[in-house]
Symmetry: C2
Subunit: 461 residues, 2 copies
């Protein structure tokens, strides 16, 4: 049996930043790590080309009456900058205080390894396990999975399974496992404002024209009201109220408001509509500025009026918000509110729907929920109690894994999402890390889920 921490480390050492073509070798390196692992486990491995980054597909086939679990993950990672803020280099994983540090350790290389390791152990114990498995590991999650929908559609028959098992969501702490019951949708766009044809001397020309940074600041400032609500008419149209059982689950969060405030190191939260920060991040949509730039940003001063300034925006959406409608609304608002004294160009990036799944035995559990999916949820809960001492919390999460909704729409499968990173893991940020204890719990729960699902296979003699 391979050492899973060693395997994650090898995986992290391949700098697989999907958004930047300069990291092509890192992307290939990450695929190589996966392919070797899957081949060693006896799976059938394919590296499937897409218009951008290939999908790694690893399959264990079997009779049609065996349950079929699709395990999803992504081998791409976010950029590692700002590099100077890392304690140790982003792509040189090291263990400190029970955590493995490095870009991708938590998102998503470590958590997906919990499932790979679980499968390897199960197959070692029972080579004849009555379970079909498909690992679907994409390389475009961090850029919105542009190729995956077409890939799913083209491979619909062989990818169709009972449910998807994955870990690309959060648990509130290493002691409290979470099963994620919802994800926010997302859409990304970028607005670039152009004033004068070139950067200008701010002495010679200052006072004659609208500075594009000023125009951008005024435009951005118009997008929220003083409470923090998105100030775009129609933005919240059709947003559904939150169900009581979901609020009750959220109330079990072990984190206090004050702990969360200290963790963020802010003087106060910024929520509206009476929501707690824990509710706001899960149940409300946002419009967030991810980056802004323009003019001189180096040392000292350079007294220019810049030609251009830009802002990168992402919106997190809740169920019932259509990304296309919101995108059109935001683009229209930006164009309408931007001063006509500068030019504005808006580029739309990736987008994806929000997602929601209801576990068994809830007031709104669908009557036609598949018994295999229900068994998976129940096995996860039982094993979580065993390894953690308490049942998992069922939580919606603020992050986005748009592919989860895409899978449901194209293949009709729901997802069982086991949260294997915590707020301290610094996702998308410097000093990203994986909690090794939580990883071990996750591998145990994954193994229990897969064993339970294999137990659903009809006896055939």
């Amino acid at each position: 049996m391979f050492d899973p921490i060693q395997a994650i480390s090898d995986f992290v050492r391949a700098p697989s930043v999907s958004t930047d073509p300069a990291f092509a070798a890192g992307m290939a390196g990450a695929r190589d790590v996966l392919c070797k692992l899957f081949r060693d486990m006896g799976l059938t491995v394919e590296v499937c080309p897409t218009p951008l980054h290939p999908v790694v597909l690893a399959r264990r086939e079997g009779p049609a009456h065996w349950p079929h679990v699709v395990i999803y993950g992504h081998y791409d990672v976010q950029p590692a900058d700002p590099l100077p803020l890392w304690t140790t280099p982003a792509f040189e994983p090291v263990i400190r205080d029970g955590r493995l540090y490095g870009r991708g350790t938590a998102d998503n290389k470590g958590p997906q390894m919990a499932h790979i390791y679980a499968v390897a152990k199960l197959l070692e114990k029972n080579p004849g396990l009555p379970l079909r498995l498909t690992f679907l590991i994409e390389g475009e999650e961090e850029i919105g999975s542009p190729s995956l929908e077409a890939f799913l559609a083209a491979n619909k028959e062989r990818l169709k399974g009972d449910f998807v098992l994955l870990s690309d969501t959060m648990s509130p702490s290493a002691d409290q496992l979470t099963i994620t019951t919802g994800l926010r949708g997302i859409l990304c766009l970028e607005a670039e404002l152009t004033g004068p044809r070139t950067d200008l001397h701010s002495g010679i020309h200052g006072g004659a024209l609208l500075n594009p940074i000023q125009a951008l600041a005024e435009l951005c400032a118009s997008l929220h009201d003083a409470d923090g609500r998105v100030n775009i008419p129609g933005y919240y149209d059709g947003v559904q109220p939150v169900l009581a059982w979901e609020r009750a689950e959220l109330a079990k969060l072990p984190t206090t408001r004050e702990q969360y405030r200290k963790f963020l190191d802010i003087s106060d939260f910024h929520t509206w509509g009476g929501m707690t920060p824990f509710e706001a991040t899960r149940f409300q949509p946002t419009l967030e500025f991810n980056g802004i730039g323009g003019g001189y940003q180096g040392e000292g001063s350079k007294t220019v009026i810049p030609s251009k300034a830009f802002v990168k925006i992402s919106c997190r959406l809740v169920p019932s918000m259509d990304p296309a409608r919101i995108e059109a609304l935001v683009v229209k608002t930006l164009k309408e509110r931007c001063s006509p004294k500068v030019k504005i160009e808006v580029k739309c990036g990736h987008s994806g729907n929000a997602y929601r799944v209801v576990p068994p035995d809830r007031p709104d559990t669908p009557a036609d929920q598949s018994p295999v999916l229900a068994a998976a949820f129940r096995a996860a809960e039982a094993e979580a109690v065993k390894v953690s001492g308490n049942p998992p919390i069922y939580l919606r999460e603020g992050g986005s894994v748009p592919i989860i909704d895409t899978i449901r729409r194209t293949l009709g499968m729901d997802s069982v999402m086991l949260g294997l990173f915590t707020p301290e893991c610094n996702l998308h940020a410097p000093d990203e890390s994986l909690h090794l204890g939580l990883f071990a719990k996750g591998a145990a729960v994954s193994e229990a889920v897969l064993a339970a699902v294999a137990g659903m296979a009809p006896r055939t003699n």
Copy 2:
């Protein structure tokens, strides 16, 4: 006699960016070019250390009854970025269509060479010219001349002259010489806002806290009203009305409003208080955003809530505005208006007073104006008519040369400023250039001024 264009080219090849310590060798190289030129002209050359960048001092001494002209220039330049926007490399000067392109060709290496060349020619024609000369060439103009005031105070006796001659200001076109009668003051500062302790995943945490980019946009947007007026109570206190003769001079500008608009490539100007853009840039103060930054600025998207965001601000001031008062007012306003949900740190940079000088024979010419200064103005006007076919325009300018007011305060000298760059010269911007025809006119006017001043020396036999 040296070739002045060759000399400027050698000077530009030394990348003397004073704001960035990485350019120390370029700073030294630029001093070497100057020292060699001055030594070849027979002047006494000193490279005088200061706490930052040395001053190059080159002197022609003589009897105390000879007039003494101090010629000012600066050998430092602005950073050349954004480098990709240069047609040819910034520090490899080339001539295209009667212009010499390169960083510093117009600000200030070319224009100061007009005076160096004029002196060289005068001294070649008349080695016994009854004129004392001091070239005072500093290396910190682009960063606010932090060392020069102490240098002037420490060298007060030998630097005291009848007036200062310089060219670090603009003419509206190569056909219309300008004598600059005023400069705006300046102050620079930078505000950095800090939200959470580190960049955060905008899905997991989005909705809980105030994004520092949003706080910065809202702060910046508060600093101007819809007309473009600086929205800080007290900002305009004590600003003096513009005199009629100055408006009349400005009306002689050959540039039309439409030409200026097309030059800037903007759809419309952004002025207030009924001022034309030509008036606004000269007679009104500004508060300008020179740079903004925060979060992810690379290719594609990175869905973070950044920890920090910053803005670089510079204010251009008109006579009677005290930089210290305005700095305190802006800092106070930024701190008061910034949301308490983020931290704000304001760093103040360099500052300098505005300046105004009145030529002879104007309604407000000081009764005690020195006859040597008056003779210099009159000689400049006469020679300008000769080389250009029309008298110079007497204009205030929007840019800042804070040292001009410092010289008046410390040494009691006024300045004769001959504008030797034009709006097309792209100062502080990519593709900076020097108009070679205007350079030649400037050298002729400089020679005429210095000859006329030498003619003021009392006969001594």
